[in-house]
Symmetry: C2
Subunit: 197 residues, 2 copies
């Protein structure tokens, strides 16, 4: 049975962590990207479907290609960040289930039912997006998730060869520059959006 | 600038955490539910929309009502867990944006566009689902997320008075019983589902 993490860990993960609009001039290594994946992949998804497919844009060329498809305010963030990540999802994730979920014929639950695969892919790749954000923070990094971009254009630019893969959201990644954040938006008390039954 | 969390914290959050099928006979207090919310609400959502609406079923009556609408294998988990949570989403979250995102007229971005609100609500309430799972683990608790249930029936049973609120997924919550888990399903290497561009 586990104990609560320390206050400083809870601060780093949740209470003092922020969404950054810009980053310090400090690189993020490929090894760090692997380390984020090796944490985030451990988080649960339905039938271990792991539908997220990630493209980590680290070169100027890739960041420019992505930035051109974002709203102007987001384009600059994508361009200037050390890394800008596309969190996409494979609608045909069920093809992988024979090895990802070997103890049942989970592929059969999804065969021929694209609406079910779509809702499962968006739900579970978004869960994985939450794991990505918290894994990055757990490793001392910061993120800036963005949904203001042209999904269809990003899909055409990055996933033309795999049309079953579609963008969900994108995020910048790096060591956040405190000068680029604003005051925190309000967070509601428990009773506003919760009830105990 | 933050440092990586300790190995034991990373184990508790990701590497050794598991989805539990059953729990120890140890209660979870209402104060702990508030503590989970107070962490998970700090995680980022698009325009601070916070679309998740949570119903924490702690009474036998509420758990029985929910269990009756689950697949049989999940019904017993829901009944026996100290707490079973419905993670729902408010499709009309934009009505709250004037106070949740006070520095811009974000409500106007979503007025009259229900398809945009639906995809945003599922994406962002699922992100919040990821924060919920990791907040629970950070506080020493364990979860068992479940999507095998009748969403429409749960909506009718729990959200009849608020038809704009729809269930996303549910989760059990408690102190996990190690006797109730199986071997971990495979987790892919970085190169399987990631690329660096």
């Amino acid at each position: 049975m586990s104990q609560p993490l320390s206050d400083s860990a809870l601060d780093q993960l949740f209470r003092e962590a922020r969404t950054y609009n810009g980053y310090l001039d400090k690189p993020v290594s490929d090894e760090q990207l692997h380390a984020i994946w090796d944490l985030m992949k451990m988080g649960p998804t339905s039938a271990n479907m792991l539908p997220a497919r990630l493209v980590w844009c680290t070169t100027d060329e890739a960041k420019q290609k992505l930035a051109a498809l974002c709203l102007p305010a987001n384009a600059e963030k994508v361009l200037k960040a050390p890394v800008s990540v596309i969190v996409a999802m494979d609608i045909d994730y069920h093809e992988q289930l024979p090895w990802l979920f070997p103890h049942a014929d989970a592929k059969a639950w999804f065969d021929g039912n694209e609406p079910l695969r779509e809702i499962s892919a968006i739900r579970n790749s978004s869960l994985q997006g939450g794991y990505f954000i918290l894994a990055a923070r757990a490793l001392g990094l910061d993120t800036g998730p963005i949904s203001g971009f042209n999904n269809a254009a990003v899909d055409a630019a990055f996933f033309a060869d795999t049309p079953q893969v579609r963008s969900n959201f994108i995020s910048t990644l790096g060591y956040g520059d405190p000068a680029t954040i604003f005051g925190r938006s309000p967070r509601p008390d428990f009773d506003t959006f919760n009830r105990i039954a």
